[in-house]
């Protein structure tokens, strides 16, 4: 489903040594897989997800999504790629002026869904993340854990092929962290590929799923049933 080949990303730097975020990274992610990308801060996890989302361009190498080279997609066609992905960010990135319901329904609007489809699907997804009673609250009226659940609902409402979650528990306490990971597992069990970037040791060790370990921009381990080893 996702195939990363010799991916290198170098950021221009004011110092004489350029910042190498990713260094010839290669791996494949199959359909309906749950993959964790782990590593210390600065290991290249976020950069990797940004490149898959085409938020940035690689310096070298390629990423194929469903056989298509992301680097070759024109800017005007990027929305079609992004509509097949669902993204969860560490800082939630919710629309501050929209309610939880509107945040979730926006993605369906983007895809041209009808009013009936939106009215049918959005409450279901909000129910899935346990926020039916907070549907009409603004993000500022929600706790961190609740905001992240809205973000997951938004990422999942259009049934994307893949969910990319970038440190989704980074700002949360252990209790909310557990909830969010349970939600991601539920979504995975419903048949969605999940790519989770995290540096949370507890989370990784409790999952017992594939773990790709990054260190200084390189893949240092790729274990089928991995643990957090660094």
């Amino acid at each position: 489903m996702i195939s990363v080949k010799d991916l290198t990303k170098i950021y221009p730097s004011k110092s004489s040594v350029p910042a190498v975020a990713l260094n010839e990274v290669s791996f494949d992610i199959k359909e309906k897989e749950f993959v964790s990308i782990v590593g210390k801060s600065g290991a290249g996890k976020t950069t990797l997800l940004k490149l898959i989302l085409a938020e940035e361009e690689p310096t070298k190498g390629q990423i194929f999504f469903q056989g298509q080279d992301i680097g070759q997609i024109k800017r005007s066609k990027l929305p079609f790629l992004r509509q097949k992905l669902g993204v969860v960010f560490q800082d939630y990135k919710l629309f501050p002026s929209k309610t939880a319901y509107e945040n979730v329904s926006y993605v369906m609007e983007v895809m041209g869904a009808s009013g009936e489809e939106i009215e049918r699907d959005v409450p279901k997804v909000l129910d899935l993340v346990g926020l039916s009673d907070k549907a009409f609250n603004l993000p500022s009226e929600l706790s961190g854990g609740e905001r992240q659940r809205v973000a997951i609902a938004r990422a999942f409402v259009h049934r994307p092929d893949v969910i990319l979650a970038d440190e989704p528990t980074g700002n949360l306490d252990p209790y909310n962290t557990f909830d969010i990971i349970q939600l991601l597992i539920k979504i995975y069990e419903m048949g969605t590929t999940v790519v989770l970037a995290t540096h949370d040791k507890e989370v990784i060790n409790s999952l017992g799923k594939r773990v790709i370990t990054l260190d200084q921009g390189r893949v240092v381990r790729d274990d089928k049933k991995g643990r957090f080893v660094l």
Partner: protein, 301 residues
């Protein structure tokens, strides 16, 4: 269709949701459209002013005592043929005498001395009005050197030439200044309107990047902002239209007392549709163009 409806709906939500910013945008746009309206009014007003002054300028050709009125009328028909000559009036000896008497009826000494002369000393003349100062020269040359030169006694062009040229230079200057200020104010107004919209959109910078990341196409992101600009522009245009009417109504008599030939209400009512159209168009173009340019910057994700 769904997408289009959503864009309209979101545009209205943007507009109504941020009341303070929308109010500020509409307010600035009213100022801008008012400036455009004032410039629009200034054009006929300056035209009328210029026309007023220019109408006071003419050149008279005096014919010799014994010239047959028929010949004078023939000269008249020839002068009319010169391009840019606006008007030629024949003033017979008798008319000249009567108009002199009429003008100076209070001045008994003058009237008495004229009676002493015992005959009508005035000459028949043609009074010529042209659209441009240079045409008077042409009329003078034509009469002094052409086939009618024997009939002509005197042309007052040469003594009036400096005044005529000054008047025309002045009116041309007025038009140029009006044009210059129109351009300067127009550009300043545009910059202010654009910056207001830019500030309004800057506050949505973060939202625009999220929209792109969750898969919104550029038009789906842009659309609501354009609609928002369009709504602000149209509301501003309608308010300005009403303000224009109120201002014309109240200032009409004031302006007329200074420049009698200018009627603000007259200009307003005779240009009603054109004015409304210009105001709506300026509002719509201002709103959409500023939004388009301002959003473009944030769509690069």
């Amino acid at each position: 269709m769904n997408l289009f409806k959503r864009v309209l709906k979101n545009g209205w939500k943007n507009f109504s949701g941020s009341f303070g910013l929308s109010f500020a945008t509409v307010f600035v746009m009213i100022l801008v459209i008012s400036t455009i309206t004032i410039l629009y009014f200034l054009n006929p007003i300056s035209d009328m002013l210029v026309k007023d002054v220019e109408e006071k300028v003419d050149v008279s050709v005096y014919f010799k005592e014994e010239t047959d009125p028929e010949d004078i009328l023939e000269v008249k028909s020839e002068i009319v043929k010169i391009p840019e000559v606006e008007e030629v009036n024949y003033i017979s000896k008798e008319e000249a005498f009567e108009s002199f008497m009429d003008r100076h009826k209070e001045d008994h000494i003058l009237i008495d001395s004229l009676a002493e002369v015992g005959y009508n000393p005035f000459l028949a003349s043609l009074s010529v009005k042209a659209k441009e100062a240079s045409r008077y020269e042409q009329v003078a040359v034509f009469l002094e050197t052409g086939p009618f030169k024997e009939l002509v006694d005197k042309i007052d062009y040469h003594q009036r030439k400096p005044v005529i040229e000054k008047v025309f230079a002045f009116t041309k200057g007025v038009k140029n200044i009006a044009f210059f200020f129109s351009m300067v104010f127009g550009i300043i107004a545009l910059i202010i309107a654009f910056n207001t919209v830019k500030i309004a959109i800057q506050s949505s910078k973060e939202e625009i990047s999220i929209m792109r990341l969750v898969g919104a196409s550029n038009w789906f992101v842009r659309g609501p902002f354009i609609i928002q600009g369009l709504i602000a522009g149209s509301i501003a245009a309608l308010i300005t239209f009403v303000l224009t009417f109120v201002a014309s109504h109240f200032l009409d008599s004031n302006i007329s007392s200074i420049i009698p030939s200018v009627s603000l209400l007259g200009i307003f009512s005779s240009n009603l549709l054109a004015l409304l159209l210009i105001q709506l168009l300026s509002g719509a173009i201002l709103g959409t163009a500023s939004s388009l340019i301002a959003v473009r910057k944030y769509l690069k994700i």
